[in-house]
């Protein structure tokens, strides 16, 4: 009797446990949101739908955005990092040859190494963003509401921006390499199976996509937007101006540039700046919020580009971004931009208007705070300030993606290319004389008109990521030195001829190992110290 009772009890207990079976209910709470939870949030609050759209812009300067490893990398911060890398590969932007310099791979051009993080980040960032854009395009293609249509149009513009960045890494100028392989194209219509065997599309095909995306954006956007991180019609015009400039469509580029710049005025230079979205000369920019830098503030432009961060790489390790003296020496003393870099005595007039720990002027330059700030090097930049104030440890500087000054210079260049030299000089002089150098004359430098415009771009856009795309576009050599007096560290002191195959990036092994369609770039080799000493570029001659 007892046996049966006990057995019955045991069995009943077993059934009870088995029946409160909630193996289907195992979900995370926070930490990660599952697809169902995302859907549920959208149902409860439809405004959440815009979160994925917002993410597409977030990734542009996100610290630790794409490398996706357990340890943060100080050089993983999206397009801002790509901009610094591009400039560090160019002639004018210098970091020391020391163990603190995470961009030495660009200084020495080992960035063509297929398993390095630097090219990985520069490649993964645009493609991650393309994926987000493609998803948004797919979702909102048929949208009839204004919000959906607008998101779709912005996504098209973003995709164009990405391909524009990518195609210039991997192939020479459109005008000479139209038929050569560019980069693989992935759109919202690319089937998943194709991704693993997706050959490089020709440069022409890539540009076709870029222009059609921008046409779509311009057609479907107006000039309203929530803030300057977003794309409006003017931004789309600006992007198309860049694309047309590369393609040699001078008149189209000129028209687009004029539309892009309408209503914006160039900056007036009085102190370190270029760190706030709200600056009146910014047409488009990347916003860095406090949230983004909570985990690590080192992968930021505040940390690398600004010399004024209270918790940044540049200041703490004296890895200040410096200008090549060959270019700096060419800047007339009357040009306010000469003060974007301290001179050999660490002086810049811009330092008179700011202070750090009570120090201003040369004292600020020489200021040393243990573990925080080393004295400036000669020619360290003071162009980029700190959004939260000089010396702040909040590395939340915004980064400009498009400024009115660039568009003015595009306009001038197009005018020059169209043979309207007089108009070009007027465009150039009216900008520079009004905002930069009252004594300016476009002939004083003794350069050809197009070289004079390139010189202006090199000075004006220093540190903003235009160096290499200009060199590729203009088919110029990389001229970093003429003689031993240049301030390039020995390991980075070399020149590279125009259209040298080493100027083309190589695909990361993460791409070639999985995308069977890729045939990589080859040719030339990593530059050696002091190679091609006799090369000249027309600007720093």
């Amino acid at each position: 009797m007892k046996f049966y009772k006990i057995s019955f009890l045991a069995l009943a207990g077993l059934m009870t446990v088995a029946s409160c079976n909630d193996i289907d209910e195992m979900e995370p709470a926070s930490g990660a949101l599952t697809e169902d939870q995302v859907q549920q949030s959208k149902e409860l609050n439809p405004a959440r739908s815009e979160a994925s759209f917002s993410a597409m812009f977030n990734i542009m300067g996100l610290p630790n955005g794409v490398f996706n490893r357990s340890t943060p990398r100080a050089d993983d911060f999206g397009f801002i990092m790509s901009a610094i890398s591009s400039d560090a590969e160019g002639p004018d932007y210098i970091y020391d040859d020391s163990g603190y310099n995470w961009f030495s791979t660009c200084g020495e051009y080992s960035s063509r190494n297929a398993n390095y993080a630097n090219p990985y980040i520069r490649y993964a960032t645009p493609y991650n963003q393309i994926k987000m854009a493609n998803d948004l395009i797919k979702e909102n293609k048929e949208a009839t509401d204004s919000v959906g249509k607008n998101m779709c149009a912005q996504a098209h513009a973003i995709r164009a921006f990405d391909y524009l960045a990518l195609v210039q890494y991997f192939q020479f100028n459109y005008q000479i390499a139209k038929d050569k392989p560019g980069v693989p194209i992935v759109t919202e219509e690319t089937p998943d199976e194709q991704l693993t065997n997706n050959p490089r599309a020709s440069v022409e095909e890539v540009f076709k996509l870029i222009i059609s995306d921008l046409d779509y954006a311009i057609e479907n956007l107006d000039n309203n937007r929530t803030n300057k991180t977003r794309v409006n019609q003017q931004v789309a015009y600006g992007l198309r101006a860049r694309a047309n400039l590369i393609m040699g469509k001078w008149q189209e580029a000129l028209n687009d540039a004029e539309k892009a710049m309408a209503g914006y005025t160039p900056a007036t230079i009085t102190e370190p700046a270029f760190c706030e979205l709200s600056e009146p000369n910014w047409i488009w920019g990347i916003e860095i919020t406090q949230n983004m830098v909570l985990v690590s503030g080192y992968p930021t432009c505040s940390s690398w580009l600004s010399s004024f961060s209270g918790d940044g790489y540049a200041a703490a390790t004296a890895s200040y971004a410096m200008i090549n003296t060959m270019l700096w020496n060419k800047i007339p003393a009357t040009d306010v931009r000469k003060g974007w870099w301290v001179d050999e005595n660490l002086y810049s007039p811009l330092l008179e208007n700011v202070s750090w720990d009570g120090a201003s002027g040369v004292d600020l330059a020489k200021l040393q705070i243990d573990d925080v700030k080393e004295p400036f090097n000669p020619y360290s930049n003071v162009k980029f300030g700190m959004k939260d104030g000089i010396g702040s440890e909040n590395n939340i500087n915004d980064f400009p993606l498009m400024r009115v000054e660039e568009m003015i210079l595009v306009k001038a260049e197009c005018q020059a290319r169209l043979g309207q030299d007089g108009a070009a000089r007027t465009t150039l002089e009216s900008f520079v004389k009004t905002y930069r150098d009252p004594e300016y004359s476009s002939t004083a430098g003794g350069r050809s008109l197009t070289d004079e415009i390139w010189y202006q771009r090199r000075v004006e856009l220093w540190g903003e990521g235009f160096a290499m795309s200009d060199i590729m576009r203009l088919q110029k050599p990389v001229v970093r030195f003429h003689d031993d007096t240049c301030n390039q560290p020995a390991a980075f002191r070399f020149n590279i001829p125009a259209d040298d195959a080493w100027l083309l990036m190589r695909f990361c092994d993460s791409e070639t190992n999985t995308n069977a369609g890729i045939i990589d770039n080859t040719g030339s080799k990593q530059p050696e110290q002091d190679q091609y000493p006799n090369l000249r570029d027309g600007v720093t001659d």
């Binding site: 193996i23 693993t196 573990d371 390991a491």
Partner: protein
């Protein structure tokens, strides 16, 4: 020889009876082998239920009822004896060579070893106690065939070595075995278990042994059984040890002389110019100008004083003989410190354990408390454990037994900053191992005295003098002094069981176990150190982990047909639920600079507060049938159906199972005459198990791999933003492992030689696999989890235990084991089957192993230029020099390998597996006249390891300022053109890329432990009311012999590269050697 293997049942059912007292007898039971008393032997008056057991001195006394005179004396493992009763008997028992049938702990119960059809190795308390170790699994090193231990860290606070049983079964899923403590799956840290509480540890290696654990047993099972009461007479045992920890692995053979180091750096700078086409004069001028210029490839620091107008290094590349060490610039004095010596030191280890145990008529109890303090080899590093255990079994009714096992451990530990932070200035191990020998650790005043700041703190050199190092920010050794990382953990494990035996042969068991783990972690980043900018930072982290296992088992055992057929049936249900809740916060601006709590952190802008919950569950139904005929032929089969919440509904359930058979050949009549053979058993098994343990790309558990996951963020300007963090796959399901095992167990020469030889093969199919997708696909993780491909681990295990010599006073035994495992990938995703999967320095291809090196190949030095040469695959070219493509768009190779000094042209090659051919261990124990000496050694042969620390020390990249290996002195130069080491500055493009030049043999021999003890004779200590007293000295992790000084091949089982795998050893906590002395007393 200890003879206490008294089972509970013997004790419980020997009820002392007898009504009419007649004759009183007494006596002592002694073992004939060694003359030691036999404790717990049962003495029964034949024909009655009167009986007793011997006490701790082997003595007994009982009253023989009238009319009875014969006694029967029995003891497990001894020949039973019958003799007539008389006063003051001295009874000699001889060991029963035939009946020595060990009982081993198996899945869901125990089993006679003879009936066991699978493959398992059990080690007992004696082997475990021979180790002075924080983790019980350390005792498996070298003692258990088929088991490999890989230490990830010498950190006393680290959990336990990684264990791989019979190879590596998974690519991306967990490869760790399932731990089962007292019958219940255990997922707490192993260092929460006090090894002193462990009675035995069994490693189940094949499917028939472990398939019944279904989903969780695919990588083998380690069963840990804690102690119970053993004697009717209560036993009190106390154990204390004191010892010293020191760094086990020596430093690499680096250049320690600052002058020599300067000379080499000077030569490198000179080379960089002379080979760039400069004249010798220009090259000398450049080296002179930049040797100390940290901004242009130089060293930054001057630590020699040279006479006015003289150079530090001459044109002969030698240090100026007039130079004197030490330099003052008027403000500071600079002289190098040995960072390595300053960082590492010996530390103290102490451990105390006390236990109380006993058996009474209905009660069996074991209770213990322990304290351990284990110091680290660097400052602010250590592990402290307070542990307690109570195991109680109570026979409530004849048909009901209840039991509880409760254990609690509190752990306080502290760890320096290291871990995955390879190459980081903040990693003190990396810094201590790699700092050039010219740099000061401390700041000194101009007079040479150490500088002390206004707060009374030692001032460390963090680039705060007038010199700057060319790399390494801050000072990690300073930060280790000032920053604190305190970890507090509580582990509670409770098991509650009820066993009902309603009818003969049937046992119903209900088990519930809970594991509650709380952790609180406080980190302080000091305002005087690394967090100056933030004025101090506090990070607080807290987790609460709660796991419940419910288990219901019914077991029926019966026999029929004259007890010739035996059958045992098991059916059950098991459910496991896990909840992990985390809460963490971070803030800066500490009011009191030493308190790392958030209320003391007053910043407003960098506050982080995070919390999250994870849930996971598995459940399964299980059944097992065991049958034998005449205990000669054995068969068993098991089946289990498991569900896991890691998979989507519809892909959630899997069915697993096994069959096994064994044949006791020696019991056959035709074997009767072979006297030298005592036992010969043939066994074979096959089974299928599952694995759901998917890890994310950082090696952490991923509980919802089938669902795509997102992380939201918000800012006042940008609003909400949602980013994908994991790409899921709904079709994901169980990885299954098909294991086959065949082998022989044997015993010969009166059981003095025991052994096992086994062949195994384990095939993993539907591998949980992260299928890489191109970066251009924009997938955030870069892969999609999927089930595809298969691999096989097959090999041979051999184990031999022998008693070499045995007499009354001397016993000498030895053990030896060998394992050969071959890992082979047999199938991959069809899309990559042709090319293989390449990632970094590894290639996965069909026919290759899971650790197949894929690297660039070094071709030596160009004797003319001194540049490093590398192989590349020659390809056909078009007229314009571009590679010629075939119709499929592939490059056409000629099949020839050529060499180039342009590193970027070099190709990667499949260099074969790096896994060892053979690993194993041997050991010996000698006991003589109260002394005992035991030693255990493990080894590995035929494998390779990537010695990336050597690569770093050879400076193939521009690592100026970091330590140089002495081999760099032999670099190529015009007067050393035969060198196989590229000229300094002649190989810089290699950078951090892996090259086969740094792939080195991973052979090692490791002396895991040596123990020498002395047990005092009983007659000497019994006046002190002690029943035993033993003193010992023990050395744990005594030495490792490897191919290169400084290399610890035990650190890695991966292909590795410059910054991963083996590379970690330069940045990880080096292994420790422990030497202790102790004593054990029982009352």
């Amino acid at each position: 020889m200890e003879k206490r293997l008294m089972t509970l049942l013997v004790g419980l059912f020997l009820l002392v009876g007898g009504v009419v007292a007649q004759t009183k007898v007494n006596g002592t039971v002694v073992s004939q082998d060694d003359g030691q008393p036999v404790i717990g032997a049962s003495v029964l008056v034949i024909g009655t239920s009167t009986g007793t057991v011997t006490d701790a001195n082997g003595k007994f006394s009982l009253t023989v009822p009238a009319g009875k005179s014969m006694l029967r004396i029995t003891y497990v493992g001894m020949e039973p004896l019958e003799l007539s009763a008389r006063p003051n008997m001295r009874i000699l028992l001889t060991s029963d060579q035939r009946a020595l049938d060990e009982v081993i702990v198996v899945a869901y119960g125990t089993q006679k070893k003879s009936a066991f059809t699978g493959s398992a190795t059990q080690i007992g308390a004696e082997t475990i106690e021979a180790h002075v170790a924080t983790n019980v699994t350390s005792a498996l090193a070298g003692t258990t065939p088929g088991v490999q231990l890989i230490s990830n860290s010498g950190d006393p606070a680290s959990n336990a070595p990684t264990i791989r049983i019979r190879g590596v079964g998974s690519l991306y899923a967990g490869n760790s075995p399932l731990y089962v403590v007292d019958g219940m799956p255990y997922d707490g840290p192993l260092n929460a278990i006090n090894p002193q509480d462990v009675e035995s540890m069994t490693v189940l290696k094949d499917a028939s042994a472990s398939a019944i654990y279904g989903a969780r047993g695919a990588n083998g099972v380690v069963l840990i059984t804690t102690k119970k009461g053993r004697n009717q007479d209560a036993e009190i045992r106390f154990d204390a040890k004191w010892g010293s920890n020191s760094r086990l692995i020596p430093q690499y053979d680096i250049i320690k002389d600052p002058g020599q180091y300067y000379e080499l750096a000077y030569k490198k700078l000179y080379n960089s110019q002379i080979y760039a086409g400069k004249t010798a004069a220009e090259a000398y001028a450049f080296a002179d100008a930049n040797l100390l210029n940290a901004k242009n490839g130089g060293l930054g620091y001057q630590v020699y004083t040279v006479p006015e107008g003289e150079k530090l290094i001459g044109t002969n590349f030698k240090l100026n003989p007039n130079a004197t060490l030490g330099y003052s610039d008027g403000e500071y004095y600079y002289t190098p410190d040995d960072w390595y010596d300053e960082a590492f030191h010996n530390s103290f280890r102490q451990e105390y354990n006390a236990s109380f145990s006993g058996v009474t008529e209905r009660l069996n109890y074991y209770s213990s408390v322990g304290y351990l303090s284990d110091g680290g080899v660097v400052n602010n590093s250590g592990f402290e454990r307070y542990s307690a255990r109570l195991n109680v079994d109570y026979q409530v009714k004849k048909w009901l037994r209840v039991g509880t096992n409760l254990s609690y451990a509190h752990v306080d530990s502290e760890s320096p900053a290291y871990g995955s932070t390879w190459g980081s200035s903040g990693n003190m191990f990396y810094i201590a191992n790699n700092m050039g020998p010219i740099y000061p650790l401390y700041v000194r005043n101009a007079d040479g005295s150490l500088k002390i700041d206004d707060n009374g703190l030692q001032v460390y050199d963090s680039n705060n003098t007038n010199f700057t190092r060319p790399s390494v920010v801050g000072n990690a050794i300073r930060d280790n002094e000032l920053n604190k990382r305190q970890d507090y953990r509580d582990h509670f494990n409770g098991r509650f069981s009820a066993v009902i035996t309603p009818i003969e042969g049937l046992t119903l068991t209900a088990n519930m176990s809970v594991s509650a783990r709380n952790r609180r972690y406080n980190a302080l980043y000091s305002a005087f150190g690394s967090a100056t900018a933030q004025d101090g930072q506090a990070y607080v982290y807290s987790t609460r982990t709660f796991a419940v296992t419910n288990q219901y088992l019914a077991n029926y055992r019966t026999s029929f047909l004259d007890d010739q057929h035996h059958i045992e049936l098991l059916a059950g249900y098991e459910q496991y639920k896990l909840k992990i809740q985390a809460l963490s916060g971070q803030n800066d601006h500490l009011y009191d600079p030493t308190i790392s709590e958030l209320d003391n952190a007053l910043g407003t802008e960098n506050k982080i507060a995070e919390s999250s919950t994870d849930n996971y569950m598995t459940e399964g139904f299980l059944g097992r049938l065991q049958y034998d005929f005449q205990e000669k032929y054995f068969l068993n089969g098991s089946i289990r159906r498991d569900g896991s919440s890691r998979f989507a509904p519809g892909h959630r359930w899997g069915t697993f199972g096994s069959v096994g058979a064994a044949w006791e050949i020696k019991k056959e009549t035709f074997m009767e005459d072979i006297n030298w053979l005592d036992m010969l058993k043939f066994k074979a098994s096959y089974g299928v198990q599952g694995n759901d343990n998917i890890l994310d790309n950082n090696g952490y558990d991923q509980y919802y791999p089938y669902i795509s996951q997102y992380k939201p963020s918000w800012s006042s300007t940008a609003g909400y933003s949602l980013q994908m963090t994991w790409k899921g796959n709904e079709d994901l399901t169980w990885e299954s492992s098909h294991a086959f095992n065949i082998g022989f167990d044997f015993a010969l020469l009166k059981n003095r030689l025991n052994g096992t030889i086994e062949y195994f093969s384990r095939k993993t199919s539907d591998m949980l696999y992260f299928k890489d997708v191109p970066l251009s696909s924009g997938n955030v993780t870069g892969f999609v989890p999927t089930n595809i491909g298969s691999m096989k681990n097959s090999g041979i295990e051999f184990n031999l235990d022998g008693i070499i010599m045995k007499s009354r006073d001397i016993e000498w035994s030895a053990n030896f084991n060998l394992t050969h495992v071959k890992n082979e990938i047999t199938e991959l995703d069809p899309s990559v089957e042709e090319e293989g999967i390449k990632s970094g320095s590894r290639i996965l291809r069909v026919g290759g192993s899971i650790y197949q090196a894929y690297m660039r190949r070094y071709a030596g030095v160009d004797p003319e230029t001194g540049k490093g040469l590398y192989y590349y695959k020659e390809y056909e070219k078009n007229a314009d020099g571009t590679p010629k493509l075939d119709e499929k768009g592939k490059i056409v190779y000629t099949g020839r390998d050529l060499t180039t000094d342009v590193f970027s042209e070099a190709d990667q090659y499949d260099l074969g597996t790096i896994m060892p051919d053979i690993y194993g261990g041997f050991g010996t124990t000698v006991r003589a006249y109260g002394f005992d000496l035991s030693a255990q050694v493990s080894f590995q042969l035929g494998g390779k390891v990537y010695d990336s620390e050597y690569q770093a020390l050879m400076h193939t990249q521009n690592n100026i300022g970091s330590a140089w290996h002495k081999d760099a002195l032999d670099a190529w130069s015009y007067d050393n053109q035969g060198s196989n080491i590229p000229r300094l500055d002649g190989d810089t493009q290699v950078g951090q890329t892996s090259v086969d030049r740094f792939l080195i043999s991973s052979n090692y021999l490791s002396i895991n432990n040596v123990q020498l003890g002395y047990t005092f004779p009983r007659k000497l200590i019994s006046p002190l009311t002690l029943s035993s007293l033993r003193v010992y000295v023990s050395g744990e992790n005594l030495a490792v012999f490897s191919k290169r000084k400084g290399l610890d091949p035990r650190y890695s089982m991966a292909v590795g590269g410059y910054s991963s795998g083996m590379g970690m050893s330069s940045s990880s906590y080096s292994a420790m050697r422990t030497i202790t002395a102790g004593l054990t007393v029982t009352f």
